[in-house]
Each structure stands twice: as structure tokens, then as C-alpha cells.
């Protein structure tokens, strides 16, 4: 306890800069760990008994004291909270590390975050060892049951489906054949190495070598995610490496269990090998099936959650976790089950749940996976220092070399075969990145750790750790400059173009149609049928028929509005703003701007509610499978709705500018819309119009799509509140009545639905 006391005065003088803070916390952690052990070992009785004495029988004369003890105002009972306290402290430490790294910008741009975390883990392990305590090792159970699932779920839920399915063949070949090749090659060659005289490895038999090969051959999703997330490589390569790392889990599981069983039995028969193959299919397909079942259950459950929105995210998490655990019960591939569950569940769940739940799910997944990943790397570092090691130069060095060699050979060979079947070939550059990106990580370590009764376990562990370090540090850090050097195609900023969306859909339908005319059922046909039938079951109500185009359009509008909100300056105008518009506006001079009155509070609240309702309906399909993307996601709930509407007015005005025949073109309403006022000013209400505003509009209940009012044509004069000043001019000239009404209707498109659009689901959730 004295240690703790000494620390407190120090804390006052330490400035909270990143490294110092982290250092301070390291020490604090270590000391409390120490303290906890103290409490456990010796001091328990001393500290505990006063507490017990007060709770227990006051007349109990166990202690030798005869006088009545004073009531202990302050007592110390660390034992009580030991486990959660330590866990929380570890997690807190991990997160503070992460924080610290990003405060120091220079470091984080050179060194990978995962590398830094491992180094921190090493330091902590060193410190703990220095004070002669036993450091915690990365417990396999902890890893597989608690740390790994969030990462995999996060990856699976946000997996970009289209590239994944398009490249499924390639990914499977890499995952299955590639891993088998790696395992066989490494295992075999290591056995050969072990036969070399003078290496003192004669006791390693073939099966152990093969087992070792199986463990070390698998590409690790955690490491791949950690590294690839920072280099922003193009989608194809990302999905190839990442998909491979996910799908090779089945192979790894089978091989691992196979060789482990055999190494105890000692001999392998042909029958066993055959059973191994069967086992592989069972493991992988079984895992997928389990995942799919849970996914469907989850999707089905989400149909009924419209009255209890608060627990929606929990369903997603729990069903997925259950899928993982159920698969693990039968020794099926838990990772594949988890992926299958996330992938299956996602489209239906997203259509059914509220917007807030969607955001919650996204953020929680990212949060958990972030924490998990950080903890994994730190623990790797700690385990390295703590674990028992048996260093054998030959073994370790050859392992590293062979890993590299086999990976390169495997990728090259497989690509040669695969390219015969691919339409878009993989170039040499692609192959290099795929080969170089085959990182090993914590899964290999945990599998090695699980080895039992194996006298070579320590040696294996050492080699595994060395390989992990090598791949993460050397390969991980150099891949970024290499990507730059080789000018590998980077991920393009996805321009969400409404045109692209329209034409993609058109093309899909076209291809389906042509397939039908040709008479054979290609995959477009099946996809169509599947969509038609399954959606009816799993998506609630009318959303099952909501066309993707409309939701896409909504999303795009939302994004436009967001951009306005975020930027607030003319420099970052979204694409829809053309220079000409600006020019036009300014050319006409700045007319006397009408004093814009502020909306009354109640109106604003009404509008806010309405807009929130509108926002709720949008299904934003963010491809946020990168953790860093979350930071830039502007889709928060406190949108400046008025901006949003102004944006719509803007668009509508430009419509009239561009798209109508010149004779009909309205005079562009003036200026005001272009200037971006600060957020607290308000807004485009034209007070000259009667305050009927929203309340008076008899708007019918709108479909899920863009909230439109199908106005009867008799009311061209009623403009939305957005039209403000310009609207008077608009109303005045109506050369083409129909066109005019169309324009009005257009503006209607962008305005709110009527006030009837209450969002009951949001009721309990209103922040």
C-alpha cells in the first residue's frame, strides 16, 4: 500500500501529456496489480477482519482484543472487487494508450498502431516481471470467447457483400487451397529442417511439425484488419486478403484438431485422412449453416421489435454471439458462423430497426472491436515477456523464412490457376500485395497456447511469436511505403452518384431479363427470386417493397444536407452546386434581403420532429467496415434540419434553372440561399405567407419513400415554407401552368411531410 501512497503526490506534478500519462498509468496499474496480490496473499486477514467484525456477531470474541473496537469509518476490502477492478483497469489502460498515440501525430503516421500496442505490452510485461509478479498471459479461453468475437462480428456485419460474392471463388481458393499448401509446405520443410544434424531438433516428429505448420499457416483477420485499415488499399485487394483470413478459419480448425488428435495417437491411416476431409466440409458448411439459422432468427425477431426499440441492438449482438458459441460447441468454425450470421441478418435487420438502433449497433460494434483489438495486441506483448520460452535459432529462423517463401509460392501458383477463370485478372502487383499482406496474429498464438502435453510447446510458442512479430512489425510497417512505391490502386472515394445507382439497377434488371430470354437461369435470376420471396418474410410491412433506388436517393439527399451542415463554408460545396449558380446569383446583385424572422419555438420543434421522422425512414447503408471511417460519419441525429431544407430549396431552384425550357424558367430566387449563415440563425420562413405553414396542410400519410405530398393541382400558390421570398415571384409568372405546378411539386418533394407524420417509435427515444 505504501507504493500507492507514494504515487499520489507525484500525480499532481505530472502534466497530462500523452507519453507521461501513459507511463503514469502503467505504473499505477502495475502497482495496483501488486497491491491486489498483496491483498490476496498476506494482508487479507488483517484488513478483512475489522469489516467482518462489524458485520458479524459483535459479541464474537474471536480476536484477542477484549475492548470494543471503534466503528471503522474507512475500511479496505480490495478482494471484493478484485476481478472487475483489474479488468476495468486493463481496458482503461489499453484505451488510454490508444488515446495517447493519436495525440502524438508524428508517431502514429510512421508506426502502426498495432506495433505500438505490442511494444506497450512488452513494456508492461517487463515492468511486471521486474517487480517479480506473474504477468497475465493471453488466456486462450479469454481470447476465443471474449476478445475475438467482437472483431469478427464487426467485420462480418459490415462486410462489403458485392465484392465479396463476386470474388468468392478466388477467396475460397486462397483460403482453402492456400492454407493447406502453407501448412503442408511449412510442416514438411520444418520436418526436413529438424532432421538436420546439429540443430538438436531430432525429437520433433512429423506430426508435430505438421501441427505446427497448421497453426502458423493461417492468415489472421485481426492483424490484417489492423494493418489494412490504415493503408486504404483498393477494395478488391482488401476483400481478397481479408476474406481469405476469415474463411481459412475452417481449414485451420480442422487441421489443428486433426493433427492434434493424431499426434497423440501417433499414426495416421488413410481412413483418418479421409475423415479429415469430411470433417472439413462438416466444419465449414456446418458453421455457415448455424450462422445462417441464427441470422434468420435475428431477422425474424427484428420484425416485431417496433414497440421495443431500445433492445433492438441487443438482439443483433446476442444472436450473433450465440451463433458463435453454438458453433464452438460442436467444434464447427465459429468465425464462419459469425460471419454468416452477420451477413444474413444485416439487410433485413436494417430494414426493420429504427435509425437510432442502427447507429447504436454500428457504434457498439466498432467500440467493442476496437477495445478487443487493442487488448489483444497488448496482451500479446505481455505474453511475450511472461511466457516460457525455448529459443532455438534454427527452428525460429527457418520458420520465418519458410512462412514467407510458402506464402509467396502459394499466392503465385494459385493466382496463375485462378486467372484462367477470372475476368478481371490479378496483376503481379496485386499478387505481391496479397502475398505480403498475409499476416499472422493472435489466433496462431492462442492455438499454440492451447497445445497440451507437447514438450515442444515452448519452442513452438517462441517461433510463433517471432513470426507474429515479424509479420506485424516488418511487413505491417513496410506495407504502407510499398503500396505507395508500387502505386497500387487505392480505395477511391465512393462518389454516391444517383446516376450510378440508377444505371446499376437498370443493368441488373436488364441482365436478368436477357438471361430469362436466353432461357437459362443465371445468378441474376436466382438473386431476383430470392429477393422477392425472402424479403416478404423477413422485412416488416411496406418496407419490403421499398425500392432500393428510393432509399438510396434519400440517403444521398441526407448526405448532401450533412455536407452542408458540416462544412458551413462555401469552399466545400457539394457537387450539386455549380459555379454557374453562384455566379448567377451574385450577378443579380444582392437585393434587399428581407429581414428573416425567426421561427417560433413551437414551430421549430414541430419541424424538428417531422424531420426526425423523415430521417428515421432512411436506411443509410454505410460501407463502414473501416473503423476509422466512423469518425467522419456525419450522420448524427442533431442535424441542422433547416439547412437540410435549404439545400433542397437550392436543388429545386437549380432544377428550374437547368432543366426547364428557357421560356419557362423562373427567375432564380435571390441570394440568400447561397450564403451560409451560422447555425443559430434562422431561416427560410416567409412571414408574408399566412402562417398556415405545416399545420394547415392536409397531407396524407406518406409512404416510406421520399416524403411527398401528392398535392392536387389546384394549389400552385401554396408553396413550401422554403420558397420564401422568391416564391412570390414564382407565383407571379406562370407561363406554363403545368410546368409551374411541377416545379412546386418538386419543391414539395423536398419539403417535409405534414405534421401528421408522427414518429411513434421514436417516442421513447427522443433525446
Amino acid at each position: 500500500m505504501a507504493h500507492l501512497l507514494i504515487l499520489w503526490p507525484m500525480s499532481g506534478s505530472i502534466s497530462l501529456s500523452g507519453p507521461r500519462l501513459t507511463g503514469f498509468l502503467c505504473v499505477l496499474l502495475v502497482v495496483s496489480a501488486h497491491a491486489s496480490r498483496d491483498a490476496v496473499s498476506g494482508n487479507n486477514e488483517t484488513w478483512g477482519s475489522p469489516a467482518r467484525a462489524t458485520q458479524g456477531d459483535p459479541h464474537h470474541q474471536n480476536s484477542s482484543t477484549t475492548h470494543r473496537k471503534a466503528f471503522p469509518v474507512l475500511s479496505f476490502n480490495y478482494d471484493h472487487v478484485k476481478t472487475p477492478f483489474e479488468i476495468s483497469l486493463w481496458i482503461l489502460l489499453a484505451l488510454l494508450m490508444k488515446l495517447g498515440f493519436h495525440i502524438i501525430p508524428r508517431v502514429s503516421s510512421i508506426v502502426l498502431e498495432s506495433c505500438l500496442l505490442i511494444v506497450v505490452g512488452l513494456l508492461i510485461g517487463g515492468i511486471i516481471k521486474a517487480i517479480k509478479q506473474t504477468a497475465p498471459v493471453l488466456d486462450s479461453k479469454l481470447f476465443f470467447l471474449y476478445l475475438l468475437p467482437p472483431i469478427i462480428l464487426d467485420a462480418g456485419y459490415f462486410l462489403p457483400i458485392r465484392p465479396f460474392t463476386e470474388n468468392m471463388g478466388t477467396i475460397l481458393v486462397f483460403a482453402v487451397v492456400g492454407t493447406l499448401w502453407n501448412a503442408a509446405f511449412i510442416g514438411g520443410m520444418m520436418y526436413g529442417v529438424c532432421q538436420i544434424e546439429g540443430a538438436q531438433l531430432g525429437h520433433v516428429d512429423l506430426l508435430s511439425c505438421l501441427l505446427f505448420g497448421a497453426i502458423i499457416s493461417a492468415v489472421d483477420p485481426v492483424a490484417v484488419l489492423a494493418v489494412f485499415e490504415e493503408i486504404h488499399i483498393n477494395e478488391l485487394l482488401y476483400i481478397l486478403v481479408f476474406g481469405e483470413s476469415l474463411l481459412n478459419d475452417a481449414v485451420t480448425v480442422v487441421l489443428y484438431h486433426l493433427f492434434e488428435e493424431f499426434s497423440h495417437a501417433g499414426i495416421v491411416t488413410v481412413g483418418d485422412a479421409f475423415l479429415g476431409v469430411v470433417c472439413f466440409f462438416v466444419v465449414s458448411l456446418g458453421g455457415v449453416m448455424v450462422g445462417t439459422i441464427y441470422g434468420i432468427l435475428g431477422a425474424f425477431t427484428s420484425r416485431f421489435t417496433s414497440h421495443t426499440r431500445v433492445i433492438e441492438p441487443l438482439f443483433v449482438f446476442l444472436y450473433s454471439y450465440m451463433a458463435y458459441l453454438s458453433a464452438e460447441v460442436f467444434h464447427l468454425s465459429g468465425i464462419m458462423s459469425l460471419i454468416a450470421c452477420g451477413v444474413t441478418m444485416r439487410p433485413y435487420v436494417e430494414a426493420n430497426i429504427s435509425h437510432k438502433s442502427y447507429t447504436t449497433i454500428k457504434y457498439f460494434l466498432k467500440m467493442w472491436s476496437s477495445v478487443s483489438e487493442t487488448l489483444i495486441f497488448i496482451f500479446l506483448g505481455v505474453s511475450t515477456v511472461a511466457g516460457p520460452h525455448a529459443w532455438n535459432w534454427t527452428f525460429v529462423i527457418f520458420t520465418v523464412i519458410l512462412c514467407l517463401v510458402s506464402r509467396v509460392l502459394g499466392v503465385m501458383g494459385l493466382t496463375y490457376i485462378i486467372n484462367k477463370f477470372r475476368i478481371v485478372k490479378l496483376t503481379k502487383k496485386d499478387q505481391f500485395i496479397v502475398a505480403y499482406g498475409g499476416l499472422r496474429g493472435a489466433i496462431a498464438f492462442s492455438l499454440g497456447f492451447l497445445l497440451t502435453n507437447n514438450e515442444m510447446k515452448n519452442m513452438f510458442l517462441t517461433a510463433i511469436i517471432t513470426v507474429i512479430f515479424f509479420t506485424v512489425f516488418v511487413q505491417g510497417m513496410t506495407i504502407r511505403p510499398l503500396v505507395e512505391l508500387l502505386a497500387v490502386k487505392k480505395k477511391e472515394e465512393s462518389k454516391t452518384s444517383i446516376n450510378e445507382e440508377i444505371h446499376t439497377q437498370f443493368l441488373d434488371h436488364l441482365l436478368t431479363g436477357i438471361e430469362d430470354i436466353c432461357g437459362h437461369y443465371g445468378h441474376h435470376h436466382w438473386k431476383d427470386k430470392y429477393d422477392a420471396y425472402v424479403k416478404r418474410w423477413l422485412i416488416v410491412g411496406e418496407r419490403s417493397t421499398e425500392p432500393q433506388l428510393i432509399s438510396f436517393y434519400n440517403k444521398m439527399e441526407m448526405k448532401q444536407a450533412m455536407m452542408l451542415v458540416e462544412s458551413g463554408s462555401a469552399a466545400k460545396l457539394p457537387t450539386l452546386m455549380s459555379a454557374a449558380t453562384l455566379q448567377n446569383i451574385q450577378q443579380k446583385g444582392v437585393p434587399s434581403r428581407r429581414a428573416i424572422p425567426s421561427i417560433s419555438k413551437s414551430r421549430e420543434e414541430e419541424i424538428r420532429k417531422i424531420l426526425r421522422a423523415n430521417l428515421q425512414k432512411t436506411r443509410q447503408k454505410l460501407y463502414s467496415y473501416r473503423r476509422h471511417d466512423l469518425v467522419m460519419d456525419p450522420f448524427e441525429d442533431n442535424v441542422s434540419e433547416i439547412r437540410f431544407r435549404r439545400q433542397r430549396a437550392e436543388m429545386e431552384k437549380r432544377m428550374s434553372h437547368y432543366l426547364t425550357v428557357p421560356a419557362n424558367r423562373q427567375e432564380t430566387p435571390s441570394v440568400r440561399k447561397v450564403c451560409f449563415e451560422p447555425e443559430n440563425k434562422v431561416y427560410t420562413y416567409d412571414d408574408s405567407e399566412s402562417p398556415r405553414g405545416r399545420a394547415a396542410q392536409p397531407s396524407p400519410r406518406l409512404p416510406d419513400a421520399i416524403s411527398l405530398l401528392s398535392k392536387s393541382p389546384q394549389r400552385p400558390n401554396q408553396t413550401s415554407a422554403l420558397r420564401a421570398k422568391g416564391s412570390t415571384e414564382l407565383r407571379a409568372k406562370a407561363p406554363d401552368e403545368q410546368e409551374e405546378q411541377d416545379q412546386v411539386k418538386l419543391s414539395r418533394c423536398f419539403s417535409d411531410p405534414g405534421p401528421n407524420e408522427e414518429e411513434e417509435e421514436d417516442g421513447s427515444f427522443l433525446s
Binding site: G513, Y553, P703
Partner: protein
Amino acid sequence: MGASQTHSAYKYQDLMTKTGFSLEQIKNLHYRFRQLSENNETLSRENLENIKDLADNPIKKQIVEAFFDKRNQHQNEMGSFEEIGFEQFVMVMSHFRPPTPKMTEEEKLAMRKDKLHFLFNMHDSDNDGKITLEEYRKVVEELLSMSGDIEKDTARGIADAAMLEVASTNVPNMGPDDYYEGITFEHFEQMFKEVEMESRMHVRFLDVDTRTIHS
């Protein structure tokens, strides 16, 4: 049968060179053609529209129309046929071939342009070389036609926004009196510059004899 067989073999050869299909593929397509046309020499619109699977397709009309569009025959004619023969059928189908590995870059570009033209023709129904706002609106309406009760304004809104986007991307410096008339083929191409059309727009044509497989 001998004479007609050599005759058809000769025709097949011709088609093969013109369209690039293999003999097996052409035979399969011919079989399908005969199925659809109920063993007549020519195919009419009703034959295509009666295909069961097409019933759910929102753009069925456009697809059928594309078969009868003279522009897709690459003979610089305009207008449309009333009925088409097998050559025209195969010609239209040839737009959906995937690129072969042995193609040069120019051939790939040509194929890409071909496919884009096909798409363009589907939208540009009045054949004036541009897709006007009205035509574009129609496209979007058709796309959404099968999806339940969509307001007309929705489709219109989408089409308008899309048009606006094309306009501002391609003609960013429009003056105040300019008027964007419609999407020309160049602008259309521009929309797809990120997409690898030659590989995306293809259908797998079977080489094996599918006669026994379906009715």
C-alpha cells in the same frame, strides 16, 4: 435436310464471325429462338412478352423493344422492326458477351463503347442522340414501376436530381442562359468511366447443349 443443313452451317459461320459467338453457343441460341418463336422463322414482340419469367421485370418493355430496335443491328438504320429473324436476335445478344482474355485494349474499348451504345439506345427512345429529361424520367418511372404504389413525383424527383448531377458534372460552367438539353453519348460514357462495362454487362452463354435441361 442436307441442303438446309449446309445452308444453316454457312449462316452460322457468318454469324460466328460477325458476333464472336462460338458454334455451340449459336446453336443453343437458335434452339432457344425456335422455342420462343414457336418454330416460326421470325420472332414478334408478343413472343418475347409472353416469357413467364419476364413478367416481374420492371423494364420488360424496354428490353423487348431493344430487340426490335434497328440501331442495335449496327447497320446505321433507324426505326424498329416488326418482327426479327435469327440474325437480328443473335446480333442483339452479342452485346452481352464477356470480353475474351485474348482481346487487345482497343478491342476492349470498342466492346465497351458498343455496350454503352446499347444502353444508350434503350434510354434514348426518340433517337435524337440525347437523353432528355422526359426520357430520363420515363426510365426512372419504369424502374420503379413494379415496386408498389410509388408516387409519380418520386420518380420525377429522382430523375431530376440525377439529371442535375450529370449536368453539373459535365458542364460545370453553364452560363445563366444555358440550357442543358439532354445527356449526350459522351456524357453518358462519362457516367460509366469508373465501371468496367465490358465485364459488368455480360451474360453467361452456355456452351453445352441445353436442350435436355429446360422446357
